[in-house]
Amino acid sequence: MTQSNDQIDKLKLEQVGKEVTIPAGIQVVKQGDPPVHFYVIVSGKLKVYRQTDDGIRTDLTELGPGDYFGEVALVTGKPRTASVEAVEESSLLEITKEEFDSVLDQNPKLARRIIYSLSQWLVDGDQRLEKETVHQVKLRQISWFDYLLIGGLSIVLALVFNLYNDNQIPLVYSAGPIPGVETISLEQAVQLYRQDKAIFVDARKSNFYEQAHIKGAMNLPVTFFDLQYPMFQFMLQQQQAPEDVPLVVYGGNISRRFDKELAKLLEEKSDRKILILADYQGWKQAFPLQEQPGKAVAAMPLGISGYIEWIPVGIFLLILIPPVRRSPYLSAACRIILGVIFIDFALSKIMRPAVFANNVVDYMMMPSWGVNLWSLVLPWGELVAGLFLILGIRTRAAATVIGAMNIIFIVGLVKVIMQDLPINCGCVGEAGEPVTWWKVLKNAGMLAMALQIFFYDRLFVLDRGGFIWRERKI
């Protein structure tokens, strides 16, 4: 549609048309209008652009003195293919279609020149289209390598950090048989209980114990064994139970962390015989219980972290608006917010994995072999994916990883609510926040943000086709 030509004089255009002055900001030609004039720029600056029906604008080029425009519509007789607007006050030579046709008839050299210009413009357009298509395809690309990179980096960083961390934990917790500790069936344990020939010890955290425990059982949370064992011994002495009365440890879940660990520690410290319940789930049905249901977990103030977590709920509402939902600028905002939240999550857990491991056990979802691995790698996964989102590295893969984490978190949170488990979520901060439906909504908001990034992110991306600062400009 436009082409530079320094030799306007030779084209004999100066003999036709009239000179017009266009103030800055005024549209000379509007996309879609019928063709009427051809223009040659005498002075000033104009920009050429196209705009789609849904408002996406593509800047095509800028024109200056000696350039001309409007020839495509005049030659093809079709509506204007782009709009032209004055950037600054410009002076143009306005030539009617009749004058333009007349000049072409009299000047075959000019005609050939325009045909050449149009051909060149088409070739350039094809090349630009290809470049943009390749760029967009690269942005949309996602491969197993991306996941391998995020996963591999998280695992390597987790293992290396754990190696040098003062608070390191073993990679895998062994929940196998404990030498010197006998396993007894539920029936045998009930028999001992009825005959008052055993002391029952609940290995769980105090809030679980308070919610429901075997009537008469003592509580010795394994996480405070060293501190509370003297008190436990003292209470046993107060009970004046004969030395041959065994201790029956219970209170495990699928992780078998608390009951097995306590049985092991008691075996090392106590002179009594130690027994452990084989069926870690059945005691609630088999024994008389002492219950205190519905006791709320106290909420620790989370400060800024607590407020940031509400942003996804607002974003969730924004995403319901269709034009906003598709905005790449919203994607960029989502990336920053989600990145900050997940880095915050990660940093609160990385330093002391043993604390987080206990929170993982509380969810009663993870087998014993997976608790420590999950506790070590998950925070690093959160950190790496969060950083990738903020820096614009493999953002679609990072969004998928964070989305998957949110699905797991939502499943865990709903399970906790349905089973009325007295725990903190362990998501941010070591003491965390209570598990409520609000917490589920926050995670649902984060999931929606991850999906939005996956589908619409294409700005401020560091790898894949270069760094794009703003909406595309061809």
Binding site: F224, Q228, R352, A354, L391
Partner: protein
Amino acid sequence: MTRRILIWILLLGLVWGGLFVAGCGESREPYVGNYRSLEPYAGQGHVELELKDNGEADWKLTESGKTIKFKWRVENDRLWFYTKDGGIIHVIPSDEGRKLNADLTGQWHPSCPKDKCIIFERVPGKGSP
């Protein structure tokens, strides 16, 4: 290539910077010192507590002489004691740091529950005012 190296340097810098900030917490200095429980514990005399400025702490039963080691830090004007098994004891200072109220439930509570609380008082020794 150079840009990629810069990106990775930036990435690692952010990671280690973040960890450094996360690991620091608030200053331990006001609470460093020796403390003694007001009441005897578990029939084994009083508990002696020494909070060291390197983040380590000793919890000693006077009669048995047994010492338990753990780590501690300060956040939001509370002390956090970490056992080696991943338990957290929240400690609320009172009387301008002269007393420490240790919540043995392992849960966060706005105030220390009376039946699960050990109150310590600062005694002369290293770090005493």
